[in-house]
């Protein structure tokens, strides 16, 4: 393995202008920075999405004129207590509005809501939602209707293919095998385990960018490390070694290296050889680090339990 010459402390050939601020933002950046994400687009629309087998999500945008128009259809006695609601229809295998929905349920909305997570609790069913006004008398005035979505299945299909016949027993054994509990477990145990696997955050992508720092220790803490800087100067054309290893000199003949200083005694011969290879100079500092104790200090500080001693 190639060992490079000791690189002077504090010197970097890599980035010479580290502290330089980033370039002035380009025109496009200024424009982009000023951009405000719009709260709406002036549409009447409601969009329905699937979160999982049990939950749907809808967002919407309604212009006041549309709501005013709807309210104008109300009889005066209907005005009091009109409520904005989301009405979710189960339209599984139904071609609405030609065919009636299987049923519906209402979600009363609070004032400013423009989106809602809907607990439909119905895997493998199809839904549409309507946003509308509900009167106390039960009249529903639809403002907008959503697209249709189908929730995913949350368990095995009941349909068995005759050509690819399988038994319950075999199916659950295969499920058990991929869920990692072997062959002997009961169907109920496997079902439960599979569900837990799906819930487990540990077996899918962490993503390269989701790295976070190591959680900090809780409670009060103290950490101490020591480093040693050895610096000096000589003829810029001289060659210098520290503990026998060559050091790179700066153009003005100065040098400095930085080292972690563990407990113990370091004898550090620094030797310079003149450009003519005839003259030599040697200076040998000795450094000792001794660290005591890791105990907590009493709050008044009378009993220092930790001492570090440096001798040069």
């Amino acid at each position: 393995m190639l060992v490079p010459a000791l690189l002077p402390e504090g010197q970097s050939t890599y980035l010479t202008q580290v502290a330089r601020p980033t370039q002035a933002p380009a025109a496009r950046t200024a424009e982009t920075e000023a951009f405000q994400i719009p709260s709406g687009y002036g549409d009447h629309r409601i969009v329905l999405m699937v979160k999982d087998p049990w939950w749907l999500y809808a967002y919407w945008e309604i212009q006041p004129a549309l709501e005013r128009q709807a309210r104008s259809q109300l009889a005066p006695e209907e005005f009091a207590g009109v409520q904005s609601v989301l009405r979710a229809y189960d339209v599984t295998d139904r071609d609405v509005p030609q065919q009636p929905a299987h049923g519906w349920f209402d979600i009363p909305l609070s004032g400013m809501a423009s989106s809602w997570f809907i607990h439909a609790n119905a895997p493998n069913r199809s839904f549409i939602v309507e946003l509308g006004l509900l009167t106390r008398t039960g009249r529903f005035l639809m403002l907008v209707r959503s697209n249709r979505v189908t929730t995913p299945r949350a368990g095995p299909s009941e349909i068995i293919d005759e050509e690819w016949l399988t038994t319950d027993d075999t199916y659950w054994k295969l499920v058990g095998l991929t869920a990692g509990i072997g062959m002997g477990a009961s169907e109920a145990a496997i079902r439960e385990l599979l569900q837990r696997k799906l819930l487990s955050p540990g077996i899918s992508s962490p993503g390269l960018f989701s790295q976070s720092k190591l959680p900090k220790a809780t409670g009060f803490w103290l950490q101490v490390d020591t480093e040693l800087i050895i610096r000096g100067a000589t003829d810029p054309k001289a060659s210098v070694t520290i503990q026998g290893q060559a050091v790179t000199l700066r153009p003005d003949g100065t040098f400095s290296i930085r080292m972690a200083l563990p407990d113990g005694t370091q004898v550090i011969p620094v030797e310079a050889v003149a450009p003519d290879k005839q003259q030599r100079r040697a200076i040998t500092p000795t450094v000792t680090r001794q660290t005591d104790g890791h105990a907590a200090l009493p709050i008044d500080g009378t009993q220092p339990a930790t001492r570090a001693k440096f001798e040069v």
């Binding site: 580290v18 951009f35 999405m49 999982d52 995913p152 930085r258």
Partner: protein
């Protein structure tokens, strides 16, 4: 020699979002790419070199996302990476000096210096900064079966509302693959294993033969799959779906029970970037001046304690070999079991994020190499093959409609649709509407209008990356994810307004083109709404 009781498919999904900021001198998030190159891509390529030199037969399926391919092929980022690597090499030189009186760390400083100079030799001298060509070499050698992915890693199940959006993600993804690899992809990695019934029709139109789902995508398919996830099923469209095996996934993925958590492996979170004096690190942590991971990590996991022992690469390598042996043994047992239950050879599909190997699990590339060698030399039960190889052996498979599913937390769409990121979709949907509207209205645009329409499509695609929603959910780097959604929406909106008012500013357009410069081949008409457009390519 490997045997013929069954098969194992290792699938590595290689992805990073498009992060390229020439407008800044130095940009923190560009380090995602740099870290992945140093810690994952180059170590993997080095091990493929060794396997190829030793003539160890090895078949690994790798997807490469178009955003990553665009970055790997980008001269600007290549040169930034080279500079970044120079900095790390210099830091490792200083570390050799600094750790002189601490033998365990000194040894590690030398170890990193060697690794980093090897990385430079590979990247600059051997591969001429072009890692796509480097991977292609192993495609030609028969080690890698490359597969495509979606243009910007858009999460398809949430594009159900606008099939044109999903179709474009797939089509542009396949085009990007063809540009990079000069061939049609046999298969595709649907981002986050996100499948929605019907999207296989878009794959069919491009002659893609297979995709991958999570275990329950196949297990909850209908009719019930006879072989569970241990053989592919075929969608009504004729495209095959391969289900993930959870058991083999878990042994690598799981931070708790998986191999990567072993005490002798390198501790990811202890990095000199956080441990050493700020002034000393300052030249190497980038313009923002915040402490970052440098990749120089001196400790092993040790245990669930704050006290960490120095890392020992030799011991870790031995453990990686032992874990490869354990993984192989478990697959042998699994396949022997399955062989008794099935009237055909079972296939175990084990997909992973490529960046897990090396970046998160430092010893992962060694584990992979050991596994390939052991499978070849040390057992007689199974072989490594790719999904295509399996389809060639078993062309007839059960027709099953797979279930909507993903490999995200809870198995469906929750990671990308929850209270932290749901606000994104009303904007993404509006952008798609506008894109389709303009592309349909103006099928013959030329000159600056054509350029503006193409850039409009790029901004839409970039905003759709599943990564932004994912980051907003996980809570780290959220400011960056928010800015990305906003910036692409802003550029899209400015372009859209310019196009509708016939007032696109050319200098501004040129600037945006040079920043978000991916997919030079892109044709906005992919979004045009025409009758029967779903079958033409």
């Amino acid at each position: 020699m490997s045997g013929d009781q069954g098969f194992l498919s290792l699938v590595l999904h290689t992805h990073l979002p498009f992060v390229r900021h020439p407008e800044h001198q130095d940009f923190l998030e560009e380090r995602w790419l740099f870290e992945a190159i140093t810690e994952t891509y180059l170590p993997l390529l080095e091990r493929f070199e060794r396997l190829a030199n030793d003539r160890v037969p090895c078949r690994i399926t790798m997807s490469f996302t178009p955003t990553l391919l665009a970055m790997l092929g980008d001269l600007f980022l290549q040169s930034r990476y080279t500079k970044h690597l120079e900095g790390l090499i210099e830091l490792s030189e200083k570390e050799i000096v600094r750790t002189r009186w601490q033998p365990p760390f000194h040894r590690l400083a030398l170890f990193y210096h060697h690794r980093l100079t090897t990385a430079r030799r590979l990247f600059v001298d051997a591969y001429h900064c072009n890692l796509i060509a480097a991977f292609r070499k192993f495609v030609d050698a028969g080690i890698i079966e490359p597969i495509a992915s979606c243009a910007t890693h858009g999460f398809l199940p949430l594009m159900d509302y606008q099939p044109a959006a999903a179709r474009a993600q797939i089509r542009i993804g396949v085009q990007a693959f063809e540009q990079a690899f000069g061939r049609r992809p046999a298969g595709i990695w649907l981002p986050e294993c996100g499948y929605h019934p019907g999207h296989d029709e878009f794959l069919k139109a491009l002659n893609i033969r297979y995709f991958l789902t999570d275990a329950h995508g196949v297990l909850f398919g209908s009719p019930r799959p006879k072989y569970g996830p241990y053989a592919p099923v075929v969608c009504p469209s004729g495209v095959a779906a391969f289900g993930r095996d959870l058991e083999s996934s878990k042994s690598v993925w799981s931070a708790e029970e998986g191999y990567p958590g072993d005490a002798v492996y390198r501790e990811f979170y202890r990095d000199i970037g956080f441990d050493l004096d700020y002034d000393y690190l300052r030249p190497y942590i980038g313009g923002a001046g915040v402490r970052v991971h440098t990749g120089l990590k001196y400790y092993r996991i040790t245990g669930k304690t704050d006290h960490k022992e120095p890392y020992d690469p030799d011991r870790a390598l031995e453990k990686a070999a032992a874990h490869a042996g354990n993984f192989m043994f478990n697959r042998e047992k699994q396949i022997e079991h399955l062989r008794g239950m099935m009237d055909r050879q079972p296939l175990i599909v084990s997909p992973y994020d490529t960046e897990l190997y090396g970046h998160w699990w430092f010893e992962g590339p060694d584990w992979l190499e050991c596994l390939a060698r052991k499978v070849h030399f040390d057992q007689k039960v199974f072989q490594l093959i790719t999904p295509s190889d399996y389809l060639a052996r078993y062309p007839r498979n059960q027709v099953v409609q797979p279930a909507m599913s993903s490999w995200g937390y809870q198995g469906y769409n929750e990671v990308w649709l929850n209270g932290s990121n749901d606000w994104v979709y009303r904007h993404l949907h509006k952008m798609v509407d506008r894109m389709v509207e303009l592309a349909t209205r103006e099928p013959q645009a030329e000159g600056i209008r054509r350029r503006a329409l193409n850039q409009l499509a790029r901004e839409l695609l970039l905003a759709q990356s599943s990564d932004w929603a994912f980051i907003l959910k996980t809570g780290t780097h959220t400011g960056y994810a928010y800015r990305r959604v906003r910036d692409h929406l802003a550029r899209f909106t400015t372009l859209y307004d310019g196009l509708t008012r016939h007032a696109v500013s050319e200098p501004w357009l040129a600037e945006v083109e040079s920043t978000d410069n991916l997919f030079p081949f892109l044709d906005y008409r992919v979004y045009a709404h025409t009758n029967g457009s779903s079958t033409s390519t």
